[in-house]
Every structure is written in structure tokens, then in C-alpha cells.
Amino acid sequence: MPAPADPPVPADPGANASSLAARQLALVSALVARAEPPAGMAPERVHIQAQALLRKRARSVARHQPEVAASLGDGFWPAFEQYAAQAALPAGSAADAKAFASYIRKTRRRLFRR
């Protein structure tokens, strides 16, 4: 599992923090990398949007890995939230699902070792 990634620094984020490029990067970073919301944007709405994104990812992961999701039952959502909090967003839902399955396997191994 890759370490939680800092938001990558783009080659040219624009002339200043108020440029469109910088504002868009700020919103995406807030949503996928837990950066501060763009200045002036309601933080609670950014949080709701981030949660909605997580739910969307979780549904997609459950579709790709139905047996992993079924084995977790009601524990699926909490496990997914924990997974998402410590991992960078993989490119694509298939990669996301694979990374989640691997995270669950590792978590289970840790539990058995205790």
C-alpha cells in the first residue's frame, strides 16, 4: 500500500492562488487528499462532497469485489472508510477494488497474528 500521498505539485499551478487552475487543484486536493477546502467555499459542503465520493467509490469497489464486500457484511463501509483514509486514490475503480481487497487481506493477517 502506498503511503498517504501529498497532493502532487503541478508543473504550473497558475500565476497565483486565485487562478482557475489553482482553485480547481485546491478543490480536487480537498476531496481526494484531505487538503484544506478552497478559500471561501463552504467546508461542510466540501466534506459532504468528499463523503459522497467515498460512497460512490465504495459502491464501485463492492461491484468489482462482491465476495470481499459480502464477507465483511455491515463492516464493509467502516472498513472502506479506514482504507480510504490511509491510501491515495488509485487510478480507476478496478485498481481501487484490488487495493481494497489487498488492504483487507493484510488487515486480517494482522488480526490473526495478535
Binding site: P8, A21, L27, V28, L31, V32, P38, A52
Partner: protein, 278 residues
């Protein structure tokens, strides 16, 4: 209607309902007049057999992109535009559609359609990207108003004026999502009637209808819940001003029975018929 492709009433084709769609289309009665496919999910060189059969049987197919990021300041990715073009060729589509949105920034994927600030700067970016995409597409492009949970403090235009500017600057058609107008009504206090009054309705190529859910006072456009009366009321308000050439039902998850989808399609037809009977 200058946008005039007579599309009728359709449904989003999805792999999960690939047997339902032909059943709905073959049902006694008006059935399904066209389908829309998510471009990113349908490889032009490996179209799923069920979709291929449906198209071979005469069903019009509209490719719908979700990842061009037309509102993004990152450069437009030519292979994404090429894919829309290839799908339009493969299906002989009357048009293709995308969104007034961005979905990546500085190379980071958001995994979602995000609203652009409605500013002059964003208008210029959208205009350039739409013109560039149009130059590579064999058919007209329509762009859709998205469902948003966040809004930008720097907004200078209303949603209607912003879309109108885009139409005037690029000649792009509109894919008007009435569920997304409802989302903006609940989440940001947008007035759907005033918005419809200001939009160039003659440039609407087709309309999206979808269900969602209210959570803690916020409307989530899930495409996984039933279409509500409020959303059909906005469709009726639109059709009362100008009957759109096409209306498409979107369902992306928690698929209900064929009967339930058929009933939603019938409700849409009823709204359009009432408007025509006016």
C-alpha cells in the same frame, strides 16, 4: 427546434440491465426510442454483444462522455475526444454529449464531475475546450448541466446565463438535466422556472431525468433512487415552454424491476403528451 433530432424517450444502456433494455424496447406500447451509453464503459472495438444486437435492430445510440473535463484547465486529452468520435462513427449516432464540469486538476483525478466557477475565466476555458472537441467530432456535441454539492464564492453568472454564453460562443447544444436543476434548487436555492425562462430552449438536444435522495437537507443525484414528482414537474415546466426532442431516463445502481423502469418511462411520456395536448 433547431436542435431537432427526434430522439423520443430513452434509457441509459448499462451492462447490468443489458437484458432489460431490449425487453422494455420490445414491450407492447411505445417502449424505448433510443439509448445512451457511457463512452468510457464501451470500447469502440469491443462493443458488448447485447448492445451491438440492440443497435443492429435499429436502436439509436448516443455516446455520453464523463471524463473529458471540458471545464478543466489541464489540457484536453485527445484520446478521450477520439473515443467519443469513434463511438459516434460505430453507432452512426446523431450526436454525442459531455458535461459542463471538470474532473481532474494538476493531473489528479477527482473520480467525479465537479462544478466550474461560473466566471469569465472558466467560460474562456470551456469555450476553448468545446471548440477543440467539436473540431474532432463527426457529429454535434451537447453539454450537460451537472448536479453539484459545492458552489464557488466567485460565481459571476447564473447557471442559465452561463449555459447561454456557452451556446452563443460555441454553438454547442444543451443536454438539460432536469434532475440536476432540481439538485441546484434544493442545494443552492436555484429557481427552475426562472432558469427555464432564460435558457435557449431551442438548443436543447435532449433531457436527462434521474432519481436521487435527500440526506440532511442536501439532494444527492444518485441515479439509484426512484424519479420523484418534483423532478417530473420540472420536466413538465420545460415541456410546457418547448417540448424537448428527446428525454432519457438514467439509472446507474440499485436497479429496480423491469416494471418499475417501464413505469418511469411511461410517466415521462405522459408528461410530454400532456404538454403537447397543452
Amino acid at each position: 427546434m433547431t436542435a431537432g433530432f427526434p430522439l423520443g424517450v430513452g434509457i441509459g444502456w448499462r451492462q447490468e440491465i443489458d437484458l432489460t433494455v431490449p425487453r422494455l424496447a420490445a414491450a407492447t406500447g411505445p417502449g424505448v426510442d433510443f439509448v445512451e451509453v457511457v463512452a468510457e464503459n464501451v470500447p469502440p472495438s469491443a462493443v458488448p454483444a447485447s448492445l451491438s444486437r440492440l443497435h443492429a435492430g435499429g436502436m439509436p445510440v448516443v455516446p455520453h462522455g464523463v471524463s473529458l473535463s471540458l471545464g478543466g484547465t489541464d489540457p484536453l486529452e485527445p484520446q478521450r475526444v477520439a473515443r467519443l468520435a469513434q463511438l459516434a462513427e460505430r453507432f452512426g449516432s446523431p450526436l454525442v454529449s459531455e458535461h459542463v464540469a471538470f474532473c481532474r486538476a494538476g493531473g489528479i483525478e477527482a473520480g467525479h464531475l465537479l462544478p466550474v466557477p461560473r466566471t469569465r475565466e472558466a467560460l474562456a476555458v470551456l469555450t476553448a475546450n468545446i471548440l477543440a472537441a467539436q473540431a474532432e467530432l463527426p457529429v454535434p456535441l451537447a453539454v450537460e448541466n451537472i448536479a453539484a454539492l459545492v458552489s464557488w464564492p466567485e460565481d459571476e453568472f447564473t447557471e442559465a446565463d452561463f449555459l447561454t454564453e456557452l451556446v452563443e460562443r460555441t454553438g454547442v447544444l444543451l443536454l438539460l438535466d432536469v434532475a440536476n436543476l432540481y439538485t441546484a434548487q434544493v442545494n443552492f436555492g436555484l429557481d427552475p422556472a426562472a432558469t427555464l425562462d432564460r435558457l435557449p430552449l431551442s438548443e436543447v438536444a435532449y433531457v436527462h431525468v434521474a432519481g436521487g435522495v435527500l440526506r440532511d437537507g442536501i439532494w444527492h443525484d444518485t441515479h439509484a433512487h426512484p424519479v420523484t414528482g418534483e423532478i417530473l414537474d420540472i420536466l413538465a415546466a420545460l415541456a410546457g415552454r418547448a417540448v424537448p426532442p428527446g428525454v432519457l431516463l438514467e439509472r446507474d445502481d440499485a436497479y429496480p424491476s423491469d416494471a418499475e423502469l417501464a413505469a418511469e418511462l411511461s410517466s415521462i411520456r405522459e408528461v410530454l403528451a400532456n404538454a403537447r395536448a397543452g
